[in-house]
Symmetry: C2
């Protein structure tokens, strides 16, 4: 059996996806070429590209009002590319800060404008999502930015606020495609694919079409969303193999029953793991239960001198990459779509067994 890999990203992929990629590596459907070797202008790759776009649209029920862009640079690049593409004539944008990723987005925006903090839970240690009534928007922001799943802090936003005319821009990297989302309520959704939608090197942007055309002149053309959209994500050579893998993941998701079915599985997995953590004072997760992420489950051992022994024992059982992010320490289990229930059951069992041994 393969070990279970709880990495926060790049992260575990469905075994079927890896098997298909391996089997097609030297010859994609009789073309005589690997997908890696195909001209992005050739009919074979064009089919892969369009199928990935179409499958993503169907899975997430993306309305016709929104365009899907495939680009590069990850969410960290987008932290700059969002103000570059959305500020237009405006001088400010609002940021809701609920963890280390939204904080990073806010800091990068300072290169291009005077961003405003609508609300922050930094002083409380990033353990909750403030309701929209607590957000203090500025007068005429270009957009309001949120991170709907904070990978490091394990905080997820389950309610999508309605902000009237102000576009809502969301970094959804680490829970994209983990459950249905009401795309129509978002001006922009963006993220890196390497958590729940494929591999590192592919960035997706889902943008409401009427927001295109606000790009500042200093934005590199390769990252000008309007140019990318006009060229169907082929203004420059796209990361073709990463798009192919994302396409295989989308097809796998369809075979699982789509996003409603995957959400049910994800809720079962998360419920099992949080239950095991809460069952004993030996382990601690102090995120507000209403904001606990279904994807990234950080926890601490009450006695942190046992950390090394915990990780060593986990690895011996084939439970990999449970170490928490260096900025917060402790442990973290990322349980993305591709993590089978059996993997979460194995962690839950290990939590009980390790406590019994060490306690």
């Amino acid at each position: 059996m393969r070990p279970f890999n709880f990495s926060a990203g790049p992260a575990t992929l469905p075994v079927e996806v890896l098997e298909q990629a391996a089997s097609e590596m030297l010859d994609w459907r009789g073309s005589g070429m690997s997908v890696m070797e195909m001209s992005h202008r050739g009919k074979e790759y064009m089919e892969i590209h369009q199928t990935a776009l179409d499958d993503l649209r169907a899975l997430l029920e993306i309305p016709a009002s929104h365009r899907i862009l495939f680009t590069q640079g990850g969410a960290i690049a987008e932290n700059a590319l969002i103000p570059l593409n959305l500020l237009g004539a405006r001088q400010s944008a609002d940021y809701v800060i609920t963890g280390s990723w939204s904080e990073k987005s806010f800091k990068e925006a300072k290169k291009y404008c005077t961003p405003h903090v609508a609300v922050s839970t930094a002083d409380e240690g990033f353990r909750r999502v403030p309701p929209v009534e607590q957000w203090r928007l500025s007068d005429d922001p270009a957009y309001v930015h949120v991170c709907t799943n904070e990978t490091v802090n394990g905080v997820e936003m389950f309610e999508t606020p309605s902000l009237g005319d102000v576009p809502l821009v969301a970094d959804v990297s680490s829970h994209f495609l983990s459950r249905p989302m009401d795309v129509a309520k978002y001006g922009v959704m963006y993220g890196g694919a390497q958590k729940n939608a494929g591999i590192a090197g592919l960035t997706f942007v889902v943008v409401r079409e009427d927001l295109l055309g606000r790009t500042l002149g200093i934005c590199p053309s390769a990252f000008d969303w309007n140019l990318v959209a006009l060229n169907n994500s082929m203004y420059n050579t796209p990361p073709t193999y990463a798009i192919y893998i994302a396409g295989l993941v989308f097809q796998w998701l369809k075979r699982q029953g789509g996003l409603p079915a995957i959400e049910a599985r994800n809720r079962e997995k998360a419920g099992l793991l949080y239950g095991a953590i809460d069952a004993s004072d030996f382990y601690v997760n102090d995120v507000d239960p209403a904001a606990r992420s279904l994807m990234n489950v950080p926890f601490r051992l009450h006695d942190e001198t046992l950390n090394e022994a915990f990780l060593k024992g986990a690895k011996e059982r084939g439970l990999l990459q449970l170490k928490g992010h260096k900025s917060v320490g402790g442990m973290r289990a990322s349980i993305y779509n591709a993590m089978p229930l059996e993997g979460v059951q194995a962690v839950a069992a290990y939590l009980r067994d390790f406590e019994r041994q060490a306690g």
Copy 2:
């Protein structure tokens, strides 16, 4: 036998590289993980990353004065990122225009400065490389930009000029690693990996260390070369799988005997193909013989009404992607490192046979 794929990029890869990638897809060296699934901070991926950097340095004999950066966005993104990273306090940069790629670089630079054309062969149809004596540099340019191999026009720069204190910046995308180059003479070499060094989605930048730190404040942090260098190309999540494939290509190149040996093979291949074109008036390549690219061989049929028949017959023989770039028409055979001699022999034989049939 696999067909021969003459795509200009993404392009054919060594079969051994594809076979190794397929065989390691589900489990990289007993780690229990695909390379795609590895945390970029884990020891397995760190080893892959560092080995790729080290192998590239050894192959190209990159001196200690230069840093290697792995980034994203391709050469088209770099067209903006070069002025963003190199202008510093200067207002201009000089461009040598020898084909459609250097022309594109020049146009993008206008977003950030007033670029100056040092020399252009546009009026002559991009058929030669003007010697450095014909370049008219401006007073104090931040750099001089060249494209040392014009993929569309089939024009290669074989002499590396000495420009004193002015940094020479070169787009080397389509002949990178095709022969030894004197890296010490370049301030920056950059390109997309998808032609001769791997797959789409990975961009390499080889930069002289003293040029770091000139980055403009409006450059996105993810593409700030100084930050990328300080973080050993892990400021953001790198395109890990593309770096792994590049690493396999580097190891394949070492097994071929390194760059001197690959240059000898490339010269043999190019000589054979240009010889077949020149052998008859039926085919035309009118690039100055001293500037003919060893990698990209554009040619026309004298009677262009035969184009479709030519391409159809080629495909029937397993000779794929011979159609020229849409901006210039005609044919093009890209014969990168991974194209075996047998592939070039097959094209040369087809040129003779097609002429005999159609002539």
